[in-house]
Structure formats: C-alpha cells, structure tokens
Amino acid sequence: MRVYGSKELTADVLGGDLCIGCGACVELCPYFRNHRGRTVQLFKCDLEQGRCYVACPKAEVDLDELSHLYWNEPYQGTPIGKYEKAFASRASDRMPAGRFQGGGTVSALLFQAMKQGLIERAVLTGQDQGGPRPIIATTPGEIISCAGSKFGAAPTLTALNRAVAEGCRNLGVVGTPCQVTAIAKIRSNPMEIDDFEDAVSLVIGLFCNWALDQRSLRAFLTTRLDISRVKSMDIPPPPANTLVVELDGETIEFPLDEIRSFIPESCGFCPDMTSEWADLSVGMFEGRPGWNTLLVRTERGRELVKSAEAAGLLKTQPMPEENLEHLKGAAADKKRRAFQAMDHKGILNSCDEGVHALMRVGQDVANKIIRE
C-alpha cells in the first residue's frame, strides 16, 4: 500500500474535498485536529510518510491488500463483501432500555463484549449540544447513552487514537464504513512498524449510504429550531423522503432534498455500504421497525453473537432471502456509482506521476463493477 505524508494528505484529501471527517488522522500527533466536524492541519509536518496517511480511508486504499489481510484472497467486489451469515436481530428483554434507533443490536453486542472481557473500552459516537462527539465508553451505562444514529459525520476515530495513546488495548469500535476501512488500513501496517500492536479487538460496522456535513447540518437546523432540544434524528426508508428530528415534545420533518446538499462529495466515492472490513455489520431492517440487519463476517464476530444470544441479550432470526437480495441490490448500486465516480475523477488506480489514488484494486474487478 502506498504511504505518503501529511503534505500529501492535506493536498489530496483535505484540499481535494475528499475528507469525510472520520477522525482517523486526528490526535495521532499534534498536527491534525477536528473541530466541530472539520478536520484541519494545524502546522506543517515534513515527514515523507506518516501514520496519518496510513489511517486515512480516502487515501491510497488498496482493497486487494486489505482483502489478503482479512480473507487471504484478492478483492472480489461483491456487493456486501465477505460474510458468513445474515440475520435479522434485536436486543432482547434482558437488555436495559435505550434510545435504540432500530433493534438495539449494537448495544447488546457491546454489552456482551464488555461483560466477557473481549473489550475493555468501546469507542463510540455520542451526542451533545455541539453535535456528535467521539466517546470512550468504559461502562454499560455509557454504552447505552451512545445508542441512536447520528447523521452528522463524526470524528469518532479521534477517540480511538486517544485511547491507544493512553496505552489502552482491547478496544471495541463502532464505526461507519469509512471508519472501519481506516481501522483495516491501520491493521495492515504498511509502514512496517516493528512494534506495531493492534489495539482493536472488535469492530462493529454500521450500514451507511451517506453522511451529512456537521457544520452545514447544524447551521441549517439552528435557524429552524432550538438545537438544544434535539433528542434524536431519523431518515425513514423510501418512499419517505424526509429527515425526521425529534425534540422534547414534538417532531419536525424536513424534506430530504433540502438536506442533500450537505452530503460531502466524498461520500460519492465510497463503494462500501455495509462496512465490509468489520467483524459484524449492523443496519436497519427495512420493513421491520425495531429490528436490525446483522451480518456476521469473522469467527470472532460469530462467537460474540453466540454468547450474546446465550446471555439472553440478543435475539436473532434468519434473514429472508428476499430482503437479503434487496440489501445486496442497494449495496451494489452504491458500489457501482462510487467506482464510476472515482474512475471519472481519475482517483481509481491512478498511475500518473504525482497523482495519488483514493482506491486501488485489480483493474478487472474494477471494470466488472463499473460496467455492471
């Protein structure tokens, strides 16, 4: 995997409007910071290669290398990536109540992971008056308080970097596909650092089609409501075309068309709808409110689901084929659109001198996806 330094990161990603604000580069060093959703480089660093570039999911992501690391094979380009099994799932009655967006699957899995010692702390996304906030949760109560979807892109991985710098290991991370990709890149250790330690022992990925720029969303909402009263947000599945904001005592809806301009351009280059590099991926279950779609990808993920069920925290059912096909269809669309967009912009498998790619993959696989 090609690795460059902060200069290239700022030029290609921050300057090229590719930054998604995932926080992967933030607090690895004193130079990158995220403030209210925007990542900036405070000072110049002249190192030719840096861990910032390694971590960035929008810079030289070599899908074949990641696939070899995870699955011992080149990247296939299937719609929802490699997985063992698909379920419909929900937190069961033993789980304390929380503001679960869907089924509470993520919270239940984390509960179990922490209880059994698979993870010591969880890197999650919480929310306060200022917007989404990276959180390091150390107690079940803190896990529950982070339940609920956040639609503003949050620099959650800042908390991961912070925890690692403090010496924490055995961390669980819940992230969007871009954040999960960042963790995969970090794990591949492309700079071949001798004493590299993988501090993450569990990755739960979320489904995501696009995120919203925090600052634009906030500016939009502040002129229309009292942002301190916001309890949660939701984007119901089609045919609904709205952003639903729940405040204390009332619900306000906004047409999605007014919000779409807040989608970062970078989301258009993301081929991953279901967090393909996670142990477990969780999303909504269209048509079944109160349930999640759960994809089990790794052995570790499979074992955790089993123990969560055994502990009475999680309930699973097989996922109907029809729903799975529907999910794959949507994921394939996103992948194709993304590959086409990257190709068009010249950031897929770039080979010109000094031009860096967002993504690299076998050209035959790329062609197949683009032409589908």
């Binding site: 060093c29 004193p30 130079y31 403030h35 925007r38 900036v40 480089q41 000072f43 190192l47 840096g50």
Partner: protein, 647 residues
C-alpha cells in the same frame, strides 16, 4: 551611571548622537520634553528623564506623538522651552497638529526632533519627514556630526525664539545611535514662571488668543512665510554650513547630516580633496540662496548626497533653475540619475562608488579575492540569524492560540496586526498568524472595516491584534468606531506591561511615569467595557483557556469582543533573571523527529530555550537561554517536557 548633565563646559565627552541632542537641549535651558517611544529617537527623552529631577525639568511619555507635540506646544505657549522627539512615522501622527502649530507659531523656543531610519534598520518603512518642513513651512536643520548634534540643537532653540516658530532638527539612525567626541557647554540655571498670556491682540505673537478664523489664518500664514524669509537670511551666515575644498572644484558635493562623514571618508580614500568640493549644509530648509549661488556658480557638476528621498536634491535643482541666468546650466548627480541608490541607507562605499564613476578615478584596490572566498565560507559557515521572540515571550504563546483557533475554525480567518515586537507574527516564529501589518493601531481599523462586509458575502473571521501601548496610542478610536457601527470585531490586546519593542517604556496602562514616579494605571479592560465591548482577560501562558476564549469569540454572536492577554514581557524588570519553573526534557519520553511529533517544540514552537539535540535526536532545554515560563510543557504531545517550581 553617568548622566547627560554631568561635565563642565570645555570637557570632552564621548556621547551618543541622541545624548548629544539631549545635552544640547539642556544647554539651551529646556524645561519640558514630551515624546512617544520610537527607535531611533527614544534615548533623547530617556536621557532627559534621568536628569529631570536634578534639572527641574518635566518629561513625559505621551500616549502618542500628536499629544506629545501638543504637550510641548503648551510649554512653549506658557513660556517654557520645550522639545518633542519622535521617529519618522511619529511625525506623521503629529502632523495634524504640526500644520496649525507652524502656522500660528511658537512663543518660548520649541524644537521637534525627528529621527529617521534609512535602511529601515528598526522600522517597517523608510519614511522621510524633512518634507514636512517644506510642506508646512517651518525651518529644518540637520547636524552633520556629534558635536553639531549638540550645538545645532542648542542653537535651534535660539532660532525658534528669533523666528517664533517650531524648528525641526533632523537626525538619522547613524547619527542618533552612533557616538563621537563632543565638547560640552554650560547648562544654564534659569527660573521661569509658566504662564499662558491670552490677553491682548490676536495679531500679536507673544499675546492674545490663538485662532484660525478666516482673516486670521491668512494673516498668520503671511507672517509664517515672513519668518521663513528671515530664516533664509540667518542661514546665509550660519556656521553650520561649511565648505571645504578648492575654489573651483571639478565636482561640488552638497550634503547634509551624517552623509557628510561618508563624503569626507570617500574623498579621503580616493585622495581627491584637491578636485572635489564638499559643501555641508546644516540648514536645509529654507535653503540659503546666496550661499548656494556662490558655490553652484563655481562648478558645472554637482553631486547631492543624502539619505532617503531626494529632498535636498530636488530643492537644490529648483533653486538652480531659479538662479539659472546667473549660474548657468549644471549637471546634477544623485539619486535621480542613479549615481546613488534610491533605497536603503548610504555609506562611504556607496559614495566612493559614485565618485569613482563620475570622476573616472580609480579607488585603491579592495580585497576582492579575499571577499569572494569569504563569501563562500559565510554561506556554509555563518548561518543567518533570523529574528525571533525572546525565550518566555508571551507573544509566542498568544500567537500559538490565535493561530490554532483560527485554523480550527476553518473558514480562512486571519489576523491583522500593528507595530511592536508582535509584528513578527507574520513570520514562522509567530506561526504566520498575522496577515497584515501597517501602522500603529491599523489592525483594529482594518478589522472594523472587515466586520461590515457580510452583506458582500464576506465570511472570514477577523481578529485584530494590538499591543497595550498601541491600544492607547491609536486603537481606541478604531474600537469606538467598531462598537458604534456594530462591526463584528474581535480585538486581542497583547498586554505585556510596557512598550517593549523600544526599550520597555511605560504607557497609560502601567502604574509608573517616565520620571519614575508612581502614577495610576488605566485599566484597558475597563476602557473597552466602557466603550461597549464584551471583554475577557486571561493569561496567554494558559494555552487551553486562551484558545477556548478565542474560539468562543470567533464562533459567537455578532458584536465587538475584546480579549486581553495579560502576561509580562520576558525582558520586564520583574521577570528578568527570575525563573518561574525549572524546565527539562525527559528524553526517554521525547519522540524527537518520529511520526507523532516530528519536533513540534523545536521546529514549530521555536523557543530559543528549546534545542534540537542532533546527537541524541531528541529535544533538550538550554538552561542558560530558558527563562522558565513553562509554556512548552503544555504543547508536548508526550508530556516529555517537565516543569518544576523553581526555587
């Protein structure tokens, strides 16, 4: 400690140009001096302040040069001989008062000393203030060496009383900050009772009111021009205009000020004193016509040597044109024809080069080969010294926070600054935070403007940065403007407890006066609140708090906000030689140039107290240079920089 009032008449002292000027003022019986600090003039009022009690003088550091000139004018009106000293840009500030002052005239002798800075050695520009004499019609004199610095200043008071107008004495850095042998004169003892006599006729000079209603303005102006004519007459016989050389020189050099010594040196080195005449003028406005006619008539070629603008050159050419019928056509050399450079300061070598070219002479050979080789040595062996903030300077910490707050905000915000040590905020040592530097207080004025441009789509946050001294000097009106007109201004006042750049003189925010007496300090935070701004005060050494305050202000609601960053200058008396903390670097924790730090402290923060230890590839503290402010401990990403309370 020797003071300028020591020494009897006839004694030889080694005096700095500024000391000589101050001594000259004492020998003229000066009673009042008012000034604003400005390099290279500051020593004049400082030396006078040192002897004020002994000599029964009043000296003050005024809030700005205009007020200083007004204070000196008040003294003149009250019958007290007075002096005001300032650097070239200070005269610009004072000029609004200078015009009506020169129009009406003065009573007791009044001298305005301007100290210019050719080459901008300690300035942001190469301004020339001699033009004021011509433009505002009052006499200008220029000492040619250190003896004259004293004698001409003393004489300027007599001239001022003879003419009843202000006299400008002009010096430059190479006169003010250079030193030479001076024979002293007497310091008179005089008793004066100060009184402003406003009774009597307004047409009188020593009586009556001072007004500028239409008929009076014309009257005063005519009277003013008569004074100039009288001055020109007096100048014809002035001993400060001197000629040396052959009766009919091949080339006539006309010069003034310290350039006189450069010419003398160049003539000596070339050995052409028998071919070249040197006319040194000490009285340069108005020009003595008959004297010039005499010398211009005896040579066809004239070289005018002066620093800064071709003021003398142009005026002499005008006079030559007027005298044309009598003296004939002259070939002029100087700045206009490129014989001398039009920017930067002059020196003997440049005059030598001009003379070589004009006369076709060859100077003695210089060590050309040596110089070439040494230049190569210097390239690798003598790394250049860039200007920096002193170790422990609060500005380094302030700019760190301002820069970071603006960058985190992410809307391409910027800072506008003004004059002081913190003007270095445009460079790497100030993290390139400042994007404009013009004049005293101008950052606030610019910010007041920028804060009104939202209707034009302007959305960049703007921070005005000023010092505590510039706040009182020039920023207050801009803040009033911003508040009154509801401009979104954020003003950061870097309050380090003194006018540091020029030598740490006091100002209204400091509880002490020039003559050492305690005074009441004016609280600038209260002033800002009184004007109507929202004010916070914090310690710039507390990086976290400062940045938080700034972000809040930058992101906040509309309105004028002021953040006073209060921390003493590292060179202030209370801080010097006292360490707050003992600093050290734990090299086992230090990441050095590895990813994760890459020498943040030595490469970016750049305090001279932090040294990059090339051998160990870690940072370390230079305990001689470090003053123990403790700020660097806050920036280390690893906590490798340790601070312990100093004993």
């Amino acid at each position: 400690m020797s003071t300028i009032d020591e020494g009897r008449s006839g004694e030889i002292r080694f005096l700095q140009g500024n000391e000589a000027i101050a001594r000259g003022a004492l020998e003229a019986g000066i009673k009042v001096a008012a000034a604003y600090p400005g390099t290279p003039s500051s020593e004049i009022p400082e030396r006078l302040a040192e002897v004020a009690a002994e000599q029964g003088l009043y000296m003050e550091w005024s809030v700005n040069e205009k007020v200083a000139l007004e204070v000196a004018a008040a003294a003149s009106l009250a019958g007290l001989r007075s002096l005001s000293a300032m650097k070239q840009v200070g005269v610009n500030v004072a000029s609004d008062f200078l015009l009506p002052l020169a129009q009406y005239g003065t009573r007791a002798g009044m001298v305005l000393v301007t100290c210019e800075d050719p080459g901008a050695l300690s300035s942001a520009n190469e301004g020339d203030s001699r033009q004021y004499a011509r433009m505002m019609e009052f006499p200008l004199v220029e000492p040619g060496d250190f003896q004259e610095a004293k004698d001409i200043t003393k004489w300027a008071f007599e001239l001022s009383e003879e003419l009843r107008n202000v006299v400008m004495v002009r010096s430059v850095t190479r006169m003010s900050h250079a030193s030479g042998n001076v024979v002293l004169g007497d310091i008179p003892k005089s008793e004066v009772v100060a009184r402003f006599n406003y009774e009597g006729s307004p047409f009188g000079q020593m009586e009556g009111v001072i007004d500028s209603a239409p008929p009076l303005a014309a009257y005063y102006h005519r009277r003013q021009q008569e004074k100039l004519k009288r001055a020109a007459e007096i100048f014809e016989d002035s001993p400060f205009n001197a000629y040396s050389g052959p009766d009919y020189p091949e080339l006539l050099i006309i010069t003034s000020s310290i350039c006189h010594l450069y010419c003398k040196e160049a003539i000596h080195v070339l050995g052409i004193s028998d071919r070249v005449g040197l006319l040194k003028l000490g009285t340069t406005w108005p020009l003595p016509a008959r004297l010039l006619e005499k010398h211009l008539g005896k040579s066809d070629r004239v070289l005018v040597v002066e620093d800064l603008l071709p003021f003398l050159e142009d005026n002499i050419k005008v006079m030559a044109a007027e005298l044309g019928q009598k003296i004939g056509f002259k070939r002029f050399y100087g700045k206009k024809d490129g014989s001398l450079p039009s920017v930067d300061e002059l020196n003997p070598d440049l005059v030598e080069a001009a003379l070589t070219k004009i006369l076709g002479v060859e100077g003695p050979a210089g060590p050309e080969e040596y110089r070439k080789q040494m230049e190569e040595v210097v390239k690798i062996g003598a790394p250049a010294r860039m200007m920096t903030f002193c170790p422990g300077c609060p500005h380094r910490a302030s700019f760190w926070s301002i820069h970071n707050a603006l960058t985190l905000d992410g809307r391409k915000g910027f800072a506008c600054g003004d004059i002081g040590c913190y003007a270095l905020g445009t460079t790497a040592v100030g993290f390139e935070t400042l994007k404009t530097v013009h004049a005293m207080g101008s950052g606030a004025g610019l910010a007041s403007g920028f804060g009104q441009f939202k209707p034009f789509g302007f959305n960049q946050p703007v921070v005005a940065v000023c010092g505590d001294s510039t706040f009182f000097h020039a920023v207050m009106p801009a803040l009033v403007n911003a508040v009154h007109l509801q401009s979104n201004i954020i003003l950061v006042i870097l309050d380090n407890g003194g006018t540091a750049m020029t030598g740490f003189q006091p100002h209204p925010g400091v509880a002490v006066k020039a003559i050492g007496k305690e005074s009441s300090a004016i609280d600038m935070a209260d002033v800002c609140r009184g004007i109507g701004a929202e004010v916070k005060v914090c310690d710039p050494f507390d990086l976290e708090q400062t940045q938080a305050n700034l972000l809040e202000m930058i992101e906040g609601e509309k309105g004028a906000k002021v953040l006073v960053l209060r921390q003493s200058c590292a060179l202030s008396p209370e801080k010097k030689h006292k360490k707050m903390f003992d600093m050290s670097v734990d090299q086992t924790l230090c990441l050095g140039d590895a990813c994760g730090c890459n020498r943040l402290c030595t490469r970016i923060f750049r305090c001279p107290g932090l040294v990059w230890d090339k051998q160990n590839k870690k940072a370390r503290i230079d305990s001689v240079l470090c003053v123990g402010c403790g700020v660097c401990a806050s920036i280390c990403p690893r906590g490798a920089i340790k601070k312990e309370e100093a004993v």
